[in-house]
Amino acid sequence: MSMPSSQERTTTDLPSADADRPPAPPGASRRVFLAGTGAIALGATAAATTIDGLTAHVARTAASGGTEGVAVTQLEAGTLVAYIRPGESEITIMTGDREVVIDDPALARAIARAGTRQAGTR
C-alpha cells in the first residue's frame, strides 16, 4: 500500500497519571489501522470506532512511512478510537493515553464510507 503524506500531531498531558504504564509497542502501521476499521460500524460523518487489541502508535509509523504489517490479534489488548469531524479529513486517533492527529483525506473517506454501510460486522 502506498502511503499518502500524513501530518502527525501528538498531544500529551502533564502530569500523566499513566506515566508508569509500559510504552505501547512500536511497529503498527496505517494498514493495520485500516484493516481494523473495516471491522466496525461507523457514524456517517462523525465516526467513533473501537478496535480491540490495538494499542500501537499508528501515526508514528505512518509519518515515517513504515508499512510493516502487524496483525491486530498480535497486538496488546487495548482500545483504539478514531474520530472524524464532519467535512474534515483530519483523523483523531486515541489509543491508550495517547492522542494522534493525522490529515489523510483518503483514509478519512474510507472510514466515512465504512460508516455509511448498514450496521453490523462484515
Binding site: D13, L14, D52, L80, V81, G96
Partner: protein, 452 residues
C-alpha cells in the same frame, strides 16, 4: 453553589465535578498548608445500594502555581482503583466493617498520590485505602474511628486522606436560585414575601474529599518558608481539577465501558463561585476544560458581572449606587483574577502577577488567625478568604457583598457603597467542623439521614 453542579456537562458527571477547594496555613501545624479538594457533590447519605465513590478513570489534580504565571509548577495527582471482592453479591457492604481491610467492604477503593514538578513525576504513596461511605450503625459502626484510620503520613512530613465527609459548604440553594431570593431580605424582592431566616441546603449532605497537608517549603518556588507578607514569593496560586480519558464508550461485546485517549480536564476550581456566577451558561463547559492562564478570555464576566446588574433589578431601590456604576469592576478583578496587589489593603497582598487567572491565592506568610473571622479579609482577618480559603470562611456572603459593591472603594474611592452592600446575605449558617485533620466532619450516615 461554590462549584457544585455549576456547569451543564459536569453536572451530569458527579465523580469529575470539582466541588469546593479550601487552602489554608494549618492552624495546628503552621509549617504546613492544608488543601482540601471536594468532589461528588450533593450526596444523599442514604444513596445506596451503590454508594458514592471516586472515579477509577478520573485523575484528580491539585495544581500549585508559584512563579506568577498561572501555570502548574507543582501538581499532586490522585488516581483510584476499585475492587469487588464478592462479585456475586449485590451488596456494597456484606457485614459490619470495622477495619479498612474488612472483607465485608465490597467496593474497596485504593489510591495513589504522586507529585509532579518540573515535569518530573514522583509517586509519594500507593495502595492507600479509602473508607467506605457512612452507611449506618450496622454496616459501618464506629465510623469516626474507621475514617481516622484512613489518614496517612506522606514522606517528607505530609498527610493525606481521601474519602467521604460531611459537606462543610453552606448556602441557601433553594432561595438563591429562585430568582436571586435572599430570604432575610425577600420582603424587598421584586416578587416580595415575608422575610425569614435562611436555610442551609447542604446541612445534611456528604461529599468526597481529598485532604492533603504538605510542608509550606514543598509549595514555594525556592523551597523557603516566607515570613514577609509583602514578599511576592509568599503567595501561591492553587486550583483543583478532575480529568477523564477523552473517549468513554460502551463496548457491547465485552459489556463494559472502555476508555481511550489522554486525560481531558472535565472540571476545575479556584475561587468559589467563579464558574458558577461569573461565566455565562454557554461557556461554562469550555471554561471547565480550559486552563487558568487563559482566563483573560473570561474577564468580562468579572469586570461586568451579570449579578451586579441583577441585584438592583431584583431589589428595586435597594442598590441605586451599584446600578449607577458603569466602570469595570477592578476590585473583583483584583480579588479573583490577579490577587490584591500591594497598596490596596495596608500591610497585605496576595498578588500573583498580571496574568489573569482564577486561582485561590494563599499568602503563606500570613499566620493562622487566633480568632478567625468568617468574612476573612473584609472582616479584618487577613488569614481568611481571599487569602486562600478556610473551611469556616463565609465565601457566599463575602462574594455577594463584593459583587454588591462593598469592596469597590478599595480601588475606586469615588464610589459610595449602598447601605445594603455590607448587609446582604443569604442568611444560612454553617455546620460544625473539627479543628484538626481532616478538618471536615464525619459524614452523615444513611441510616440517620434517610431520604425525605
Amino acid at each position: 453553589m461554590s462549584s457544585h453542579r455549576e456547569a451543564p456537562e459536569v453536572s451530569k458527571d458527579p465523580v469529575a465535578d470539582s466541588t469546593d477547594l479550601y487552602a489554608f496555613v494549618t492552624p495546628d501545624r503552621p509549617d504546613t498548608v492544608t488543601i482540601i479538594a471536594n468532589y461528588v457533590p450533593l450526596q444523599d447519605p442514604a444513596g445506596g445500594p451503590n454508594f458514592f465513590e471516586f472515579g477509577d478513570e478520573v485523575r484528580y489534580d491539585i495544581h500549585i502555581s508559584n512563579r506568577g504565571e498561572a501555570e502548574a509548577d507543582i501538581t499532586y495527582s490522585f488516581t483510584f482503583t476499585t475492587e469487588v471482592p464478592n462479585p456475586d453479591s449485590f451488596l456494597y457492604i456484606t457485614g459490619p466493617v470495622t477495619s479498612l481491610d474488612s472483607p465485608s467492604y465490597n467496593r474497596p477503593q485504593r489510591y495513589s498520590v504522586s507529585r509532579t514538578a518540573r515535569r518530573r513525576r514522583r509517586v509519594l504513596a500507593e495502595g492507600l485505602r479509602v473508607p467506605p461511605c457512612n452507611v449506618g450503625p450496622r454496616s459501618t459502626p464506629d465510623y469516626a474511628d474507621l475514617a481516622a484510620s484512613a489518614a496517612y503520613d506522606l514522606p517528607g512530613g505530609g498527610r493525606v486522606f481521601a474519602g467521604q465527609r460531611a459537606d462543610a459548604f453552606w448556602v441557601d440553594l433553594g432561595s438563591v436560585f429562585d430568582l436571586g431570593t435572599l430570604r432575610p431580605f425577600q420582603n424587598l424582592h421584586l416578587i416580595p414575601s415575608a422575610a425569614m431566616a435562611g436555610i442551609n441546603t447542604l446541612s445534611k449532605v456528604n461529599v468526597h474529599s481529598i485532604v492533603l497537608q504538605v510542608p509550606i517549603a514543598d509549595l514555594t518556588a525556592d523551597g523557603r518558608v516566607p515570613t514577609d507578607v509583602m514578599d511576592l514569593d509568599s503567595t501561591i496560586g492553587i486550583w483543583t481539577a478532575a480529568n477523564r480519558p477523552r473517549v468513554r464508550l460502551w463496548d457491547s461485546r465485552r459489556e463494559r465501558l472502555v476508555f481511550s485517549g489522554p486525560q481531558q480536564q472535565a472540571s476545575r476550581l479556584g475561587n468559589p463561585l467563579f464558574n458558577e456566577v461569573l461565566v455565562p451558561m454557554s461557556r461554562k463547559d469550555a471554561w471547565n476544560a480550559s486552563q487558568p492562564n487563559g482566563d483573560s478570555a473570561y474577564a468580562a464576566g468579572v469586570l461586568r458581572p451579570e449579578l451586579a446588574g441583577l441585584l438592583p433589578a431584583l431589589y428595586p431601590g435597594v442598590f441605586p449606587n451599584l446600578a449607577a456604576y458603569t466602570k469595570d469592576r477592578a476590585d473583583l478583578a483584583a480579588i479573583l483574577l490577579t490577587g490584591i496587589p500591594e497598596g490596596v489593603v495596608p500591610g497585605f497582598q496576595n498578588y500573583t502577577g498580571p496574568v489573569q487567572a482564577d486561582m485561590l491565592r494563599l499568602n503563606v506568610a500570613v499566620p493562622p488567625a487566633t480568632d478567625p473571622q468568617p468574612l476573612g479579609l473584609v472582616g479584618g482577618d487577613p488569614a481568611g478568604f481571599p487569602t486562600g480559603r478556610r473551611v469556616g470562611d463565609d465565601v457566599v456572603t463575602v462574594e455577594l457583598r463584593a459583587i454588591a459593591g462593598a469592596t469597590l472603594p478599595l480601588v475606586d474611592p469615588t464610589f459610595t457603597p449602598d447601605g445594603a452592600a455590607s448587609l446582604v446575605t443569604d442568611g444560612s449558617s454553617p455546620t460544625a467542623t473539627p479543628d484538626e485533620f481532616p478538618y471536615l466532619a464525619t459524614p452523615y450516615s444513611g441510616y440517620d439521614v434517610p431520604s425525605a
